[in-house]
Amino acid sequence: MVQLENIQFGYVKSRPLFKDLSLTMEPGHIYGLLGKNGAGKTTLLKIMTGLRFPDGGTVTVLNNNAPLRKAEGLQNLYFLQEEMYVPHLKVADFVKAYAPFYPNFNHEQFAEYMHELELDQEAGYMDKLSHGQKKKVLIAFALATNTKILIMDEPTNGLDIPSKSVFRKLMASAADESRLVIISTHQVRDLHSLIDMVAILDNGHMLLNASTYEITEKLLFDVDDTKSSEGKVFYTEENPRGNYQVKENVNHIDSNLDLEMLFNAAIINKNEIANLFK
């Protein structure tokens, strides 16, 4: 569905951001795209949506060459950006103006999502709403488009605590076998229960691209060696409840994935983690 092959890209030619980056993303998953500040997460999303052109390599999205920005491709892709733009329109007019571009847009779903997010379609002009409210309207719109690919950049930024849980609920209900959702975020705790694929971007490469099942098969998330004392420890973090550890799961013991711990372990032990998931 999304295929990036040997992508090369840099804002400055002497400092490439991506060097031969390759990545394949399949439908039926919710991907969490993680990376440090400046790793290029947003740029990668823009390359996928055809908003940035790579210096080398190919970007194929829904069998279309992404940089061509063909209408057929864009009809099945919605990109919810972090810094949102909303026109000077009421919500109902916004829907009237933009919903026709998406053949699978469902007005009933939109009304339902708006209701869940405690928003009124007849509320004032969108550009006068608060940041969080704007985001909620666009999240409801994005989900109602029913596009095959939904890309979200920091979707929970600016949402209040109840809205974050509603967001998770809506995302879970909107995900299906034919849909690919890519969420780039630093707020991993907001989404850890949602995502089933983890992609970590580091230093111009994909450090990790694996399912949460595969991760917990190969890595053990333990506290004070409660579950196992075997296996190489990749990362330890002191916590009032004990020492949280990420270690090699030599005995295939079940544990709960902690995205923050995983990310830190992967960044510190790049080669070992990359080899483990080869």
Partner: protein, 233 residues
Amino acid sequence: MNIKNIKNLFKTYFIENWKTDLFQFGILAVIVFFATTISASNLHFLIFVASVFLMIYPERLFRNLHGNSSKIHYLSIPASNSEKVLTNIVLANVYYVLGLAVFCCLGLGLAHLYMTLRGYDGVNFDTFLSGTSVMLLFAILAMFFFGSIYFRRKTTLATLGVSLLIGTIFVTLYALTLWINGILLIPKDAAYNDYVWSFSSDAMSEISEVIILCLGMVFFYGLSFLRLKETEA
């Protein structure tokens, strides 16, 4: 090209802009009304005002390209680059021109009515626009259209500045060529003004002017499409 996408682009435009357009057309009608009641036969002034409105218009058509998040929004709209450019060409060359014409006529009609009621002669223009002048107006519009995509901010002023600069260079070069020709080629006893006049009038017939202006329009709209195609966010 998909007609449905073009229709949707028009729909989106009108939902977002009908109030602003109506306001601008209204201002034009008021200007026309007052200008006509003050000087009943000054068509050139009215054309100048309408032209200014028309030249400013493309900046508004592509205003979404001038901000980071709005650019992403605009480029992500599910329509091809050619559909977006074509829609805006039609909006600028047909819709907005018709709107200006209708509201100009409205202003003129009201002025005529007002003057007749006050016992003056009605509006009576003794000048009219030639085909070449109309084409020139559309060619200039095409240039501003391209400028509104090419430049990132204050696009109308930037286009005006650059076109004036290029125009000045061309006129200077042309004058320089005539001056050099005058020194090197024209016999000393020939009337210089006659020579220059016959040279310029023979070289450009009205048809060739129209063709050149049409080519200019195609050139600028073609460049606009290419510029939009290569625009990144």
